[in-house]
């Protein structure tokens, strides 16, 4: 029934919007009838990526804008989350488990590890001073997808 669908969302870089982004993404992906586990994974990934834009990209400046795009193609969800903030100098270092540039904020350094674990495909691109963009995909094996 779904076949193809998309949505684009952008919002102020405020921590209140972390839960908003999770709810919006969960509502959109629910069209594919995912399992609870898959839904939890996607919500967690969104939370990690959006939080990173807010904390690391914009240093909590609420005039920053977080962008989120979602596409459904058959049984696959693509998720793109980006900011136009400070960017990342060394992506390989940033992606290492437990690496964080902000230990004083009690960051655990597990954000990237969690995102890579919970999604099937994961790509990160960043321009220091220009911003960061994550593109991720996940296949949803739902009852609906089986019948389509």
């Amino acid at each position: 029934m779904s076949g193809h669908n998309f949505m684009k969302l952008s919002f102020a870089a405020k921590s209140e919007n972390e839960s908003f982004a999770r709810v919006a993404v969960a509502a959109f992906v629910s069209q594919l009838d995912p399992t609870m586990e898959q839904l939890d994974e996607i919500k967690t990934v969104v939370s990690e990526a959006v939080t990173n834009c807010i904390i690391h990209g914009y240093d909590n400046r609420p005039d920053g804008i977080v962008s989120l795009e979602m596409e459904i193609d058959g049984d696959t969800v693509s998720l793109t989350i980006s900011d136009q903030g400070r960017g990342i100098e060394d992506l390989d270092l940033a992606r290492q488990p437990l690496f964080t540039s902000r230990p004083e904020l009690e960051r655990s350094g597990m954000g990237f590890t969690i995102m890579e674990n919970f999604m099937d495909e994961f790509e990160a691109a960043s321009v220091p001073g220009g911003g960061t963009k994550l593109v991720m995909k996940k296949r949803i094996e739902s009852k609906k997808a089986l019948f389509n």
């Binding site: 939890d40 967690t44 939370s47 009690e106 597990m110 969690i114």
Partner: protein
């Protein structure tokens, strides 16, 4: 508020019940309330009771780790109980169970601490 922190003192154990969603936005309130209770109270150990925690991301890991270090530096122990599937998966993935043991219920979590002290 999308996260509630319920505190209960049981002898030398502080029981912290988290209800709702623990993310970057709600981490501050957990940090503040736990810090306050640990520093002012007479508790040695902490039980993190997560039955009603519906969501947690890595900001939650950070705030738990921070409190773990504080408790440990004061000679206490911290354990977790009753975590839901998604929260458990995150704690597993991050290796937190190497330092925090997981229990089925508050009762067994408390029992494990009473043996220790």
């Amino acid at each position: 508020m999308s996260l509630q922190v319920e505190l209960e003192q049981h002898r030398n154990v502080l029981i912290v019940r988290l209800k709702g969603e623990l993310d970057h936005h709600t981490a501050d309130i957990v940090r503040f309330k736990m810090e306050d209770a640990i520093l002012r109270g007479r508790c040695e150990h902490v039980v993190l009771s997560l039955k009603d925690l519906q969501f947690m991301d890595s900001s939650g890991l950070g705030v738990i780790l921070g409190r773990y270090k504080l408790v440990k530096s004061r000679g206490g122990k911290m354990v977790v109980c009753d975590a839901q599937a998604s929260v458990k998966r995150l704690l597993e993935l991050s290796g937190l169970f190497k330092i925090l043991s997981l229990h089925d219920s508050e009762r067994s979590a408390i029992a494990s601490l009473e043996v220790v002290s």
